[in-house]
Structures are given as structure tokens and as C-alpha cells.
């Protein structure tokens, strides 16, 4: 009873704060939380975008996903492979590049930041990789390799099952110096000089020690933010694949959960199934996030 009274009083006392977070809370509720709940609800139905309300089908969708759907296995495998390869690589690449350019002259630093960040903000510029990997004999890579005598006839980079995943990884890493990279650059700038001075007094002898004992621990929030962004990014690769290789890709060799969801949602009109798929993806991302968060916070708070 007393607690509730306190709550009421607290709300009143902090009403200005509530007012200030209200826009974000509302947006969050309507555009993030509500869709997740709705999707969760629809995942137990056979919703087909026409019949409303849809029939309740219980766990049918989930049973089909886990027990019958071969393509889902391909999708989840590809998604995990892409996430496990591009996620860490791009995360550490962001971190080290940010670290490398940190000590440059401010002008040069700004210049390199723009260079690395540019692919992310340039929207659909990744279609240029389509020219590079074009299957035409005049495609850039084919042309060079045929000139060098490595290939004797054009190779279909974007439709051959063997080359698709590696290409996506390269493109994805190229594109991944996004907000994580920026937050690292900002985080590195935010560490006070006095910390390093104190460190050198306390016996830090080389740059590696400086990095592991001083720099990274004081960047906890940025590291976490970066990790969240990279995980979400790595798990939601999809638009790039469709733009470069079309949909569907040969033998589903570059099928990811995201492209699989849009297949069911917008081509097959099996929205219930698509909702179940996206809920599974949501759970995977959440779990990964939880693990990573624990690792990083443990490290950063040491």
C-alpha cells in the first residue's frame, strides 16, 4: 500500500521526466513493441492477408518450421554462418580501425571516418558490386581474371552457389562500418588524456596494455552499443542479397531468415508462417544479444 502511494507520488514528482520520455516511449510502444506482440499472436494462425480474422492453428506453424521445412534449415544455417563470420569481423574491424585513426590529425581523422562510413550512408551503392561480380564476360572481375588467364570463360559469381556466400560476406563487411564505428570513434575521443598519464605512471608499458587495460574498459557503453548494432545488422542481412543476386537465389544458397520471411510474407502470402519465422529470428537475436551483453559488461566493469 505504501509502495503504491510512493509510486503515485513519484510519478507526480517526476512528471516532467515522464513527459520528456513520452515521445520515445510512445514510438517504442507503437512501432516496436506492438508489432512484436501482434506478430507473436499471428504466428499461431494461418493468416493469409485476406481472411480476417484468421483461423487459429496452434503450434502448426512452429511444428512445420522445425520439423518439415528444409528451406528453413538452409536459411538458419546461412544466417548463422553470415552472422558468425561478418559479425565479429566487422565488430573488431570497426574497433581497430577506429583505434588506428584515433590518433591522427583531426582533419585526417574526419576524412577517414567519412571514407569508412560512406558505404553505410550511401544507401543502395552496394549495387556497384553487381558490376564488379557481373556474369557478363565484360563484368569487371571476369574480365580481369580472363585477361590474366585464370578463367577461360565468364564465371557466374552472383548465381553460382559456391561464390554467393563469400561475396555477401565481403559486401556486408564493406558496408558494416556504420554507427558502431562512429560510436567507437566518439568513445575513443571521450577518454580523458589524464587516464593515460595516470596509466603510464602506474606502469603501462606498451600500446597493447594501454588498449586492454585502459581504453577498452572505459568504453563499455560504446562497446555494447556497437555489439548490439552489429548483431542486429549481421542477423538481418537480406536486402543486399536480394539487390545483388535477386530473389530467390540459386538453390537457396544465399537464403537468410530475413529473405525467407519476405518470401512468405509478400510472395506466398502466408503471413502467419512469416510471423512465426520472424518471431524465431527475434528470439535468436535477443538471446545472442543477452550473451554478448554479459560478456562485454563483465569485461568493461572489471
Amino acid at each position: 500500500m505504501a509502495k503504491r502511494k510512493n509510486l503515485g507520488r513519484d510519478i507526480k514528482r517526476y512528471s516532467v521526466c515522464y513527459f520528456m520520455v513520452a515521445p520515445y516511449i510512445l514510438l517504442f510502444l507503437f512501432f516496436i513493441l506492438a508489432p512484436i506482440i501482434i506478430a507473436f499472436f499471428f504466428s499461431f494462425t494461418d493468416f493469409n492477408m485476406v481472411k480476417f480474422p484468421p483461423d487459429f492453428s496452434g503450434l502448426d506453424n512452429y511444428i512445420r518450421i522445425f520439423l518439415e521445412d528444409d528451406d528453413f534449415l538452409i536459411a538458419i544455417r546461412n544466417t548463422l554462418v553470415l552472422a558468425c563470420v561478418t559479425g565479429p569481423i566487422s565488430y573488431f574491424a570497426c574497433l581497430f580501425l577506429a583505434w588506428f585513426i584515433n590518433e591522427l590529425h583531426p582533419f585526417l581523422r574526419a576524412f577517414f571516418t567519412v571514407c569508412f562510413y560512406a558505404p553505410t550512408i550511401s544507401g543502395t551503392l552496394y549495387v556497384m558490386w553487381g558490376f564488379l561480380f557481373s556474369g557478363d564476360q565484360y563484368g569487371i572481375l571476369n574480365n580481369v581474371l580472363m585477361d590474366l588467364g585464370i578463367l577461360s570463360e565468364p564465371y557466374q559469381w552472383l548465381t553460382n552457389t559456391e561464390s554467393m556466400l563469400p561475396i555477401i560476406m565481403v559486401v556486408q563487411i564493406w558496408m558494416s562500418f556504420g554507427s558502431a564505428f562512429l560510436s567507437f570513434v566518439a568513445g575513443l575521443q571521450g577518454i580523458p588524456r589524464s587516464l593515460y598519464e595516470a596509466g603510464s605512471v602506474d606502469g603501462v608499458r606498451n600500446r597493447w596494455q594501454e588498449l586492454f587495460y585502459l581504453t577498452l574498459p572505459s568504453m563499455g557503453p560504446q562497446l555494447l552499443f556497437g555489439a548490439v548494432m552489429q548483431i542486429a545488422g549481421a542477423f538481418s542481412i537480406g536486402a543486399t542479397i536480394t539487390a545483388l543476386m535477386g530473389y530467390p537465389t540459386t538453390d537457396n544458397a544465399a537464403l537468410t531468415v530475413v529473405t525467407y520471411i519476405s518470401d512468405f510474407g509478400s510472395i506466398r502470402y502466408e503471413m502467419g508462417y512469416a510471423c512465426a519465422l520472424s518471431f524465431i529470428l527475434f528470439v535468436i537475436i535477443l538471446a545472442t544479444h543477452w550473451v554478448i551483453e554479459h560478456i562485454i559488461m563483465k569485461y568493461a566493469s572489471d
Binding site: 494461418d46 481472411k51 556474369g135 564476360q137
Partner: protein, 978 residues
């Protein structure tokens, strides 16, 4: 120099080594000397009446105009004018089609394609003459210029006299506004009048009118028309008096009369209906400008760029006097270069200098005062009264250079093809090609080329006073050729850059040939401060922008025009563009105004996902221009209305090709109406085929033979690797996709397996390219034959003018038919029957996209009868034709629209030959049914195809494997749908 020397030394060493090593190898060399067809200038020309379509003169037999002109350049130009009328008509061939004209009495009606007239006339003095015809546009349903072939004494003297353009004059019949005041697309009307039209170069490349050399004595002139629709009353040979050079009138006073402004968009006449009115709404100084409304305030731009397009403005001069003329223009397309116009007053050049007025590049609007070279404004004497000021796009002084450069590009392409035949697609560093022995003519050709290009470069620099930036692309080519002249074998290694340089040069030349210009107004004025500022100033512009931004929250430009919302209306969605939307809306308004129609029609431009909108209850009643694979997939979910239940449905069927409805059938219902159809044609570079003495193939076997010869010469033939080929091979062998109940595929049958084998073997055994750009390869001639959607026709016509006349469109190759006893099946002419069935099936987003579009009624529609009545009217032959003509009228040839209505094609502005080819192919069009779940067919067939082609899988095994997967999904889908 020393680098070059050591390079040579190394080369010699290598040669010696190679000779030693290859001592035992018998060298073989392919004679690469091209067989140049003898320049046969015999009289096999389209003069004998009646069969003009088939007797198109070959380009190779007639000289280029520059060559023709050079022969007589110094000849006399007599001043006399020889004008003859119908009395000089020579009888012969078909009977002339006379027409009774109110003004001229009996005249000739040249409506039919290929109609011709021959006149007899006598020349007193030998010399060079220009030609004029007296004509009046006549007849409806024609949007493009008439094309005229001119033959003197039965021979077309030069290639430029084949397809001379005779313009049709247009005007805006009525400005249309909606109730809010937004300006709508205007209705155009023809301005028919008797006019003397001088003949200019068919390609629009020469500044001066065509000259004809005439000996003294009796001659005949034969005019043959295509796409004509005009009346002809006479023809004249004459020489125009040259306009005097400008000389400042002495001691005259410039008028102090008020300035007269003629708005660009309010022109009096135009010689091309495709010159579009434009809106610049970012500029407060535009005239007129309005922050809120959509008003047309300028004209032209990239739609006013081809030579001979002219606009005329009538101005009324109150007081006679000496005036200056200025034009407010923007030329923001031709970077770093200028566009050229000829200014005429009442049809005459006032001064010689007005024949070529240059409008330099600028992204901003500017006032161009017509001035002398020294920059002093010219003074024009204008009597009080009405005058017509006209501006015509002309090629300018660079025209000869351009013609020469186009020629050079063609020659460079020929050299390149010769090289490719020896070297392949890219040279091998470790091989000596001895190009000068393999292609003995090569060194001289390259040297000659270098000389020609250098001359042209200097000419451009001289004429345009350019410092080199403009000719940089030409310079790159020259530098490379200089390098090649030093060491001819380098050509093998630098083949790819050589190719790129040719392509760049070709597009640069084409760009130079265009004369884009946008006009706000033409002003006639006296005092200099009467010339309005081109900019309203920073703050006015800012305020204007703010106003415009505010308005965007309130105005919906997705719907223009008025719909009477007081009465019931149908909501129609269209997804293509503003122009199309306005045309459909204006047609729909005509419909609502018709007697007995109780509903209005509201057309909206929406690019949203249809199904989502329907679910949200915001869907349209009718959706236009949807992909062919959608109807069945929507119908299976009960979202569409069965059209076969309506009155008069059966009658609409006869408008279309027999199986046009195949993709729209579902459970005994018909769920859509076809709007457009797509099919493939075969594009052939006739000049290359002639060079290599190849025949245009009719059957697959013949095509393979041609391809083998081409491949042996390192050229190629193009067969797109998409499913169309499989579907078409299937159709030609009597196969189908699905069984009769449409519950499963038929890929287990022999015909289907054979088709799949044949399809994959194109790329596994026969070496066709899997990926290529047909436009570019046809243009360079590396792929002299390619199968492609007929849309390539428009692209080649518009974007590759340099190969005009060097390519042809044919029906696709087919499968020869045999009787049951194995003897060839013959048609009534004794020719073997060839099945050229063709289907456009490719993998669509939801099923087999068959390249076509359709329209359907959604279930949510309240007044279904009214919707059907509208649809029935909208898909009728007359309305489809009107739509197609309006589209082409507004947007030019590039957007030529081909309705699915079978008979409409006959009324569209194709030439007879083209129409014949298209109809022949259309007759054989095959459309396959769509079924729910057909999305799985396309993708798995593609997988199977790639398994075979990339991984050397056995085709039968691959097809079987994926067929099983397909059928499993089809069964599942069928269950969920039912």
C-alpha cells in the same frame, strides 16, 4: 623514345625465340580480309509503284550524302525555280489516289503506306537544286512525321534522301485546368494548312537543305511516302536566296514600344507533338510561377533536342520599329557544350547569323540576347501587325564533323570486329599476333582513321573556339590510335580499352548531335531595362520555397483533375507515371461524360502494394497495369471479381489473341483483361551479316550454324538465358507447363524433358553467353544477332542512331514441322512450316511473369456492373488506340506503347515491314496458365537450369529432382487454397 626502343628490342628477341620454339608447328593463318561488296549503284529502287515496302533501297548501294555532295560542291546553283503540279504527274504503277481539296482542288492523297507519285519536269540550267514539296497534313491517328523517299530518274541519289521527314504541325487546342487551378496535360490538335516544306537530311545531320544535282533536260522525281497521311499538290526545285549577313542599320533608333513576351509553353505551333511542356517550380522568376499550383511555365528540355523540331510563336507588334529579341532559356543537359537553334521571323532567316544561334550549357536560366559575334544585340525591323517567331533545332556548323565522326565510329567498330575475329575478346600477352600479316589492311586503316579523327578534332576546335575540354573524348581515341600506329600489335593487348573508347566516342557523338533546350519565353523589346531579370533574388526565392514546402502538406499531386464526387465514382489505380495518369484520367472523364454513364472515375497514381491496401480497406475498385502473374494468385484468395459472369464478356474476347486469357483463368472463371503483350523478336545487324555472307536464320538449327561461324570469328549470337527460351522451346514442341487439372507439372513427359535438354545445351554445349547486354553488343556489332524483347527496337532507334539502317528486326527462330511420316510439312506455297511459337515466361515475383500487363476488378468494389462497363470501354480497341497514340504523342517514340488488342497494332505508326514482322510474331505468341503456387515453378526451374549449366549435372536428373520439389509445394498450396 628509349622506352619504345627497348620495347621493340624485347619484341624482336621474343619473335626470334618464338620462331625457334615453333619451328615444327605449321603456322596457319586465317585470311581475314573482309569481302567488301561491290559498290553497285544500280537502279533497284522503290520507284515502281505498289511494292515500296519490300523494295527499301540498301544503304550500301547508295553513296553517303557527304560523298554525293562533294562530287558537285562547286557546281552552279541556278536561281530559277521549277515548280510542277499534278499536271506533271507521270502515270504508272498503281492508280493515283485523288482527293478533292477545298483550296487546291484535285490533289493527291498519300495516306497508304508506300504510296508514291512521280512528276516530270524540265531543267534549263544544270546545277545543284534544293527540293520543296507542297503538302498538307491530312487524316487522323498519325502522330509521327511522314517519311519521304526522293528518287530522281528512278534512283535515290544518296542515303540521306531516304526517309526525309515531312513534319506534322500541332498546337494546343485548349488549356485544361482542374477546379483548383492546376494545369492538366493539354489537348493537342493538328494545324493543317498547305505548306512548302524543304527537304532536309533524313538523319537531321546537315545544316543546309539537301541538294540534288540535275543535268539540263527532262527528269522525273518520285516521292514515296511511309506513315504519311498527307495531301500532296506539287513539288519544286529551287535555290533559296541566302539571307544577308547582319549589318548594323545606320543611325536608327531602337523602338521605345513596350516589350512583347511570348510564353514558351503557349506556342502557336510545333512540328513535334512530343515536345513537352515543363514545370520549373523552384524558381520564383519563372513566368508564370505560382507557389501552390502546378502550372506549365516552360517548354522543351530533352524533349526538344532532335533536329528539325521547331516551335513557333505568334506575336502582335503594335508599332513598327527596330526591335531586339531575347530568349530566356536553360540548357542543362549537354555538359560543357552548346545547343543550336535557327531563328526565323515569318518563316525566313532575317540574317545569315540567325541560322545558327548557340545556347551554351548552364544549370540556371539565362537571357540569351540574339547578338552578333561581338556581343552587340542585333536589331530586327518589325512592321506593325502579326509576326511568327520560330526556333528550330539545327545541327549547326559542327554538322559535317558529326556526320564524319559517325562514319568514323562505324569504321572503328569494323576495325574492332576484325581485330576480335583474330584476337578474341582480349589479347594474350605472351602471343605475337603479327596483326599486320593477319589483317594486312589494318595498319593503313588505323593510320587513315587517325588522320580523319585528327582533322575533325582540329575542325571542332576551330569552329567552337574550344580549348580542348570539349574534344577530350575524341582526343583519348586519337592518342590511343597514335600509340597503335607506332606498334600495331599493341592493338591486341589494348583491345578492351579500344572497345571502351569507341563506345564512349559513339555516345559523345550522339550527345553532340542532340540539341536540348528549355525555353521560358521569347521577348521582343527595345530598351535594355525592359529585359526582365532571370532571378527573383535570394529572399524572394526563399519565400517562394517556403510557400511551396507548406503547400506540399496540403496538395496531393497523385490526383490531378476533377472528379464529380457528388455522384458515385470508381477508384482506379495506376502505377506508372504522372503523364499516364493524366491521360487515363482525361479518357475516363470522356467516359463519365458519355450518355448513360452514371459513375465518375477517379484515377490515382499509387505505387503501394495492392494487397496491403486492400486489407486495410483502402484498395481501389480497379487496378490498371498489373503484372500477369498476379490475377490468379489474388483470385485464389477470393480477392478478384470473375469477369466472365458479366454481360458482353464473350464479345471482348475477340479483341485479343486466342490465348491471351490463359494466365487469367482460375476455377472456370476469368479474372483479368489483358492490356499489353510482350514477345521476343530477333535483331540482326544486316551489315555484319552481309560482310560475313551470312543468311538470317529461320530455325534453331540455322541459328546454331550462324552462331558457330560467328563464334569461330570470335563474335557471338545472343540467346537470353531466361526461362522464355525453355517456355518457347516447349511451345514449339507442343509441350505445356501443367497438367489439364492444373494440379501438377508435366515435366516428366518427353516433350518437356527434350525442351529442357535443348535449353541447357545452348550454354553447356553450344557456347552461348549466359550474360550480356544485347543493346551494347548489337551496337558494336560484336553480337550481330540477338533475340530480345521487342522493346529493344525503341532503344536502338532512340539511343543508337549511328547504326540506323544497319539493323533489322525479324521474327524469332522456330522449329520446322514434319508430317507423321517424317516428310517436311509444307504450307500452301511449298515452304516448310516453321513453328515460331514464342512465350515470354520469365520468373516473376509471384509466378511466371510473361512480360505482359493486365487489369482487374477487386472484390471490394461496390458497383461491380459499373466497374465492368468502364473496363469494357477502357479495353476496347478505340480507347486502347487513343491511349497508345496519346502516349506516343506526349512522350515520343521511346515510349511506344503496344496494346494487347490485336487490331490496334495496325493503327500504330510502325512501318509496313516492321508491322508485318511484329504481327507474324504476335500470331505465334503463347501464354501459359498461371496456378496458385506457380512461384515455385519459376524458381526451381532456374535452380535446375543452373545445376546443369554450372555444375554439369545430368539435365534429366536435375529436372526430375526439382520437379518433385515443385509438385510437393503445388500439392500443399492447393490444399491451403481450398
Amino acid at each position: 623514345m628509349s622506352v619504345m626502343f627497348s620495347h621493340l628490342a624485347k619484341r624482336t628477341m621474343c619473335c626470334l625465340l618464338a620462331v625457334l620454339l615453333l619451328f615444327a608447328v605449321v603456322p596457319f593463318s586465317v585470311s581475314a580480309e573482309p569481302e567488301t561488296p561491290d559498290a553497285d549503284v544500280s537502279g533497284d529502287v522503290a520507284t515502281d509503284g505498289g511494292q515500296a515496302g519490300s523494295a527499301e533501297p540498301e544503304a550500301a548501294e547508295t553513296p553517303e550524302y557527304t560523298e554525293y555532295y562533294a562530287r558537285y560542291a562547286d557546281a552552279e546553283r541556278p536561281e530559277e525555280r521549277m515548280e510542277v503540279g499534278l499536271s506533271a504527274l507521270v502515270a504508272g504503277g498503281e492508280a493515283p489516289n485523288f482527293f478533292e481539296d477545298a483550296e487546291k482542288g484535285q490533289v493527291l492523297n498519300m495516306a497508304a503506306n508506300g504510296s508514291n507519285a512521280t512528276f516530270r519536269f524540265t531543267v534549263a540550267t544544270a546545277g545543284l537544286y534544293n527540293l520543296q514539296v507542297l503538302y498538307k497534313q491530312h487524316g487522323e491517328d498519325l502522330v509521327s512525321d511522314a517519311l519521304m523517299d526522293v528518287a530522281v530518274d528512278g534512283v535515290i541519289p544518296s542515303y540521306s534522301m531516304d526517309d526525309v521527314q515531312i513534319p506534322r504541325y500541332w498546337t494546343i487546342s485548349e488549356k485544361a485546368y482542374d477546379s483548383r487551378g492546376n494545369e492538366l496535360s493539354n489537348e493537342m490538335a493538328e494545324v493543317a494548312a498547305w505548306r512548302w516544306q524543304t527537304a532536309y537530311d533524313a538523319g537531321g545531320r546537315h545544316n543546309d537543305p539537301l541538294c540534288f544535282w540535275l543535268e539540263a533536260g527532262e527528269h522525273t522525281v518520285t516521292l514515296t511516302f511511309e506513315k504519311a497521311g498527307l495531301l500532296l499538290a506539287g513539288v519544286a526545285f529551287f535555290n533559296e536566296k541566302e539571307a544577308p549577313a547582319y549589318q548594323k542599320p545606320d543611325g536608327v533608333k531602337v523602338t521605345d514600344a513596350a516589350p512583347i513576351i511570348a510564353e514558351g509553353e503557349a506556342y502557336t505551333w510545333s512540328t513535334d507533338s512530343a515536345i513537352q511542356l515543363t514545370t520549373d517550380s523552384n524558381n520564383a522568376a519563372m513566368s508564370p510561377s505560382h507557389p501552390e499550383l502546378r502550372l506549365f511555365n516552360a517548354i522543351g528540355g530533352s524533349t526538344w533536342a532532335t533536329t528539325q523540331q521547331a516551335l513557333g510563336w505568334e506575336v502582335e507588334v503594335k508599332t513598327s520599329g527596330w526591335y531586339k529579341i531575347a530568349v530566356k532559356v536553360r540548357q542543362s543537359t549537354k555538359t560543357g557544350s552548346f545547343s543550336t537553334r535557327a531563328l526565323r521571323i515569318d518563316g525566313k532567316l532575317p540574317y545569315a547569323e540567325c541560322g545558327e544561334i548557340r545556347f551554351p550549357y548552364s544549370t540556371n536560366w539565362y537571357n540569351k540576347v540574339i547578338a552578333t559575334e561581338a556581343g552587340e544585340p542585333m536589331l530586327f525591323w518589325l512592321e506593325a501587325g502579326k509576326h511568327t517567331i520560330s526556333l528550330e533545332a539545327v545541327p549547326g556548323k559542327l554538322s559535317n564533323t558529326m556526320v564524319e565522326l559517325q562514319d568514323c565510329v562505324e569504321e572503328l567498330n569494323r576495325i574492332m570486329r576484325q581485330l576480335v575475329q583474330v584476337v578474341g575478346n582480349s589479347g594474350d600477352k605472351y602471343r605475337d599476333y603479327n596483326l599486320d600479316e593477319e589483317i594486312p589492311t589494318l595498319p593503313d586503316d588505323v593510320k587513315a582513321m587517325l588522320e580523319r579523327l585528327t582533322v575533325q578534332r582540329d575542325e571542332i576546335k576551330r569552329l567552337s573556339g574550344d580549348n580542348g575540354s570539349e574534344t577530350s573524348k575524341l582526343q583519348t581515341m586519337i592518342t590511343q590510335l597514335e600509340y597503335f600506329v607506332e606498334d600495331i600489335d599493341e592493338m591486341a593487348l589494348k583491345l578492351n580499352t579500344f572497345k571502351n573508347n569507341i563506345t564512349t566516342l559513339a555516345s559523345w557523338v550522339n550527345e553532340l548531335l542532340t540539341q536540348p533546350l528549355e525555353i521560358d519565353y521569347v521577348i521582343t523589346y527595345g530598351a535594355d531595362n525592359d529585359l526582365p531579370d532571370v532571378s527573383a533574388g535570394f529572399f524572394k526565392d526563399l519565400w517562394f520555397t517556403i510557400q511551396r514546402l507548406t503547400v506540399t502538406f496540403a496538395s496531393d499531386y497523385g490526383q490531378l483533375g476533377d472528379v464529380d464526387t457528388s455522384k458515385e465514382y470508381l477508384k482506379v489505380w495506376i502505377s506508372t507515371g504522372q503523364e499516364q495518369m493524366q491521360i487515363v484520367q482525361s479518357l475516363a472523364n470522356e467516359y463519365s461524360a458519355m450518355e448513360g454513364v452514371k459513375v465518375g472515375v477517379k484515377v490515382e497514381l499509387v505505387a503501394a502494394n495492392l494487397l496491403e491496401a486492400v486489407m486495410a480497406g483502402k484498395g481501389p475498385d480497379i487496378s490498371l497495369q498489373q503484372a500477369n502473374d498476379l490475377p490468379v494468385n489474388l483470385a485464389a484468395r477470393g480477392e478478384l471479381v470473375d469477369l466472365s459472369q458479366f454481360d458482353g464478356f464473350e464479345e471482348t474476347r475477340e479483341r485479343y489473341h486466342a490465348n491471351s486469357f490463359a494466365p487469367y483463368l482460375y476455377n472456370g472463371g476469368v479474372y483479368a483483361m489483358p492490356l499489353t503483350e510482350a514477345f521476343y523478336m530477333m535483331f540482326v545487324r544486316t551489315d555484319v551479316f552481309e560482310e560475313m555472307s551470312l543468311e538470317v536464320p529461320n530455325t534453331w538449327e540455322e541459328l546454331y550454324e550462324v552462331a558457330t561461324i560467328l563464334q569461330r570469328n570470335n563474335l557471338g549470337a545472343g540467346i537470353p538465358s531466361d526461362m522464355s527460351i525453355f517456355a518457347s522451346m516447349l511451345a514449339q514442341n507442343g509441350g505445356t507447363f501443367y497438367n489439364e487439372d492444373q494440379t501438377a507439372t508435366t515435366f516428366g513427359n518427353q516433350a518437356e524433358i527434350d525442351a529442357f535438354k535443348a535449353w541447357t545445351s545452348l550454354y553447356t554445349e553450344k557456347g552461348f553467353d549466359l550474360a550480356y547486354d544485347p543493346f551494347n553488343r548489337l551496337r558494336t556489332g560484336e553480337m550481330p544477332i540477338a533475340l530480345a524483347s521487342f522493346g529493344l527496337y525503341n532503344q536502338l532507334k532512340v539511343s543508337a542512331p549511328e547504326i540506323n539502317g544497319r539493323w533489322q528486326m525479324y521474327p524469332v527462330v522456330g522449329t520446322p514441322k514434319y508430317n507423321a511420316d517424317g516428310t517436311p510439312m509444307l504450307d500452301e506455297n511449298g515452304q516448310q512450316v516453321i513453328d515460331r511459337s514464342w512465350s515470354c515466361a520469365t520468373q516473376g515475383s509471384v509466378g511466371l511473369s510473361q512480360g505482359a500487363t493486365c487489369t482487374f476488378i477487386l472484390k471490394g468494389c461496390k458497383n461491380k456492373e459499373a466497374a465492368w462497363d468502364f473496363l469494357k470501354w477502357y479495353t476496347s480497341d478505340e480507347v486502347r488506340k487513343e491511349f497508345a497514340l496519346k502516349i506516343e504523342m506526349r512522350m515520343g517514340v521511346a515510349s511506344r506503347y503496344t496494346p494487347a488488342n490485336y487490331r490496334v497494332l495496325e493503327n500504330l505508326p510502325w512501318t509496313d515491314t516492321e508491322r508485318e514482322m511484329l504481327l507474324a510474331q504476335w500470331d505465334e505468341l503463347v501464354l501459359f496458365p498461371e496456378i496458385p503456387g506457380s512461384y515455385y515453378v519459376g524458381r526451381n526451374l532456374t535452380y535446375a537450369f543452373r545445376q546443369v549449366v554450372y555444375n554439369d549435372e545430368n539435365p534429366v536428373y536435375a529436372l526430375n529432382k526439382y520437379n518433385e520439389i515443385i509438385n510437393r509445394e503445388l500439392t500443399r498450396k492447393l490444399q491451403t487454397v481450398n
